[in-house]
Amino acid sequence: MDLSDNNWVLSVGTFLPLLGVLVMLFVPKAQETTTKSVALLTSVATLGVGIYTLTQFNFDQAGKMQFVAETNWISVLKSTYFVGVDGISLPLYLLSMVITLLVMIYSWNHVPAPGNTKAFFALMLILQTGMAGTFIARDLILFFVFFELVLLPMYFMIGVWGGEHRQYASLKFFLYTMFGSALMLVAFLALFFKTGAESFSIPFLIEQGAGISRSAQIWIFGGMFVGFAVKVPMFPFHTWLPDAHTQAPTQGSVILAAVLLKLGTYGFVRIAIPILPVAAEEWAPWIGLLAVVGIIYGALGCLAQTDMKRLIAFSSVAHMGFVMLGISTLTPFGVNAAVFGMVAHGLITGMLFFVAGSVKERYHTLEISRLSGMLKQMPRMGWIMGFCVMASLGLPGLAGFWGEFPAILSAYQPAAGLSEVTFRIYMVIAAIGTVLAAAYLLWLFQRTAFGEPAAEFSGDNNEGHGKGKGIHDVNIFEWMAWTPLLAAILVLGIFPNLLFKIIDPAVAGVLSAFGG
């Protein structure tokens, strides 16, 4: 493969982190700073490559796969190392890099107990490779490998650095996803054999997929559905999420919310729907149903929470519901909204988890009833939280809205062949969901940020302006880690076209089977 057409950038961008891990292995455990800086440098370099990719990306051809690299890999399985990005992959690919870098910065002085910086940073780098790889893989086996590669580091991250119930949470997370991906693998294999056992490459399967008999398609899609739905997570496969999020360390939650959940939805858009259009049409109403149930259900779950982090976790269920609703319409409009929603949710919820983590660090609790008057003790933190809350409940002008409103809009007119009535009902339910979202998020904000600080934290309280002991406002690392996210939320909110422009053609390609 010649290097002229830049087909090396993706591989480099994906595997650079592993190189970093390799280097880290030779750094003695004691020298934490060195370890950190190696890790940080690695992810900076990775992001550098990512940005180079962005600059080289041909935006007029956003619909087409670019930087394609293909070489033999496992000839026995007829599986090739086949990577490439298009308008759908690129934003998520970059998102994963950015998030990792920011998490690294944040972790600089936030390494959760029980320490062991080296392992922690190494895991994050491995995670980065897995996530990036999943978004660029164009071969099912490759995809699966990366998909699973993501699993283990996260398992350890939760299981080692997590909260008191970490084993429970991590194991639940692990088993769930394992279960899902087992079925997914089966589905992949079935697909492989059904298409004449010739290749695992996605474009090939897209050509061949239509040939599969209807019933077989539906079965295979079912397998993939479970695999992806667990990751999304969709109701009723979501129960691992609150535990995982609540127990995971801040960094874990952020990566989980910002990128990992997107693997599932990405799988739907990239693999399940284009390869099995017929089955997709069969399943769409059910996916839509689960999506709206998830929206309402997640919202109700939030209202029942007393723990801030858990509440945010449940809100993810609701938000991913909007994404799935967009996808289930099978219209380009809806899927655009969904992809935008993925990115927006990644930024916003990631940010919310950052805030939650910092709050936990300062107050040593996330019990909503015990927190109050944050705006008094740390105004900046409070307003940042307010900003994220507003973004998360879909305020126009901030990123959240452009994932939410178009998704609702698209549900009014699903793709041909889907029942309009059903989806219009979904639309109304989803609209109600937005109100509930406003309810729980503002409720959260009002109870934690407003009011007088609780006595137990307010410390030496001279006429109400006294900062509590040990309660300091946003520190420099947090600023460094957060500013990009906040900026992105705002910018994408004001210029949604930045993203839509890239996504649109790619999505059109994905849905070509539906005449989209």
Binding site: Q167, Y168, S170, L171
Partner: protein, 99 residues
Amino acid sequence: MLLNEFLFLGAILFCIGVYGVIVRKNAVLVLMSIELILNSVNINLLAFSLRNGSADGQTFALYVIAVAAAEVGIGLALVLLVYRNSRSISLDDLSEMKG
């Protein structure tokens, strides 16, 4: 002779072994069940080797046997160790990985 006769036999043994692994509590018995599974695999290997008229199957069967021996050795050593530490080899009592 039919190929399937052997394959079926292998399958049946395999499932019995699986049953044992799941049901048995005593570590030694679990190891035995694993032996069952390995043997069923061997039967398959040999059956195919005969069918394809190639020696690969047999070669692998040999390897499997060797590995099985090693595995049993280690396994029993572990059992012994465990027994020494907690005067029991009932797997129900061994839940260090409990969450």
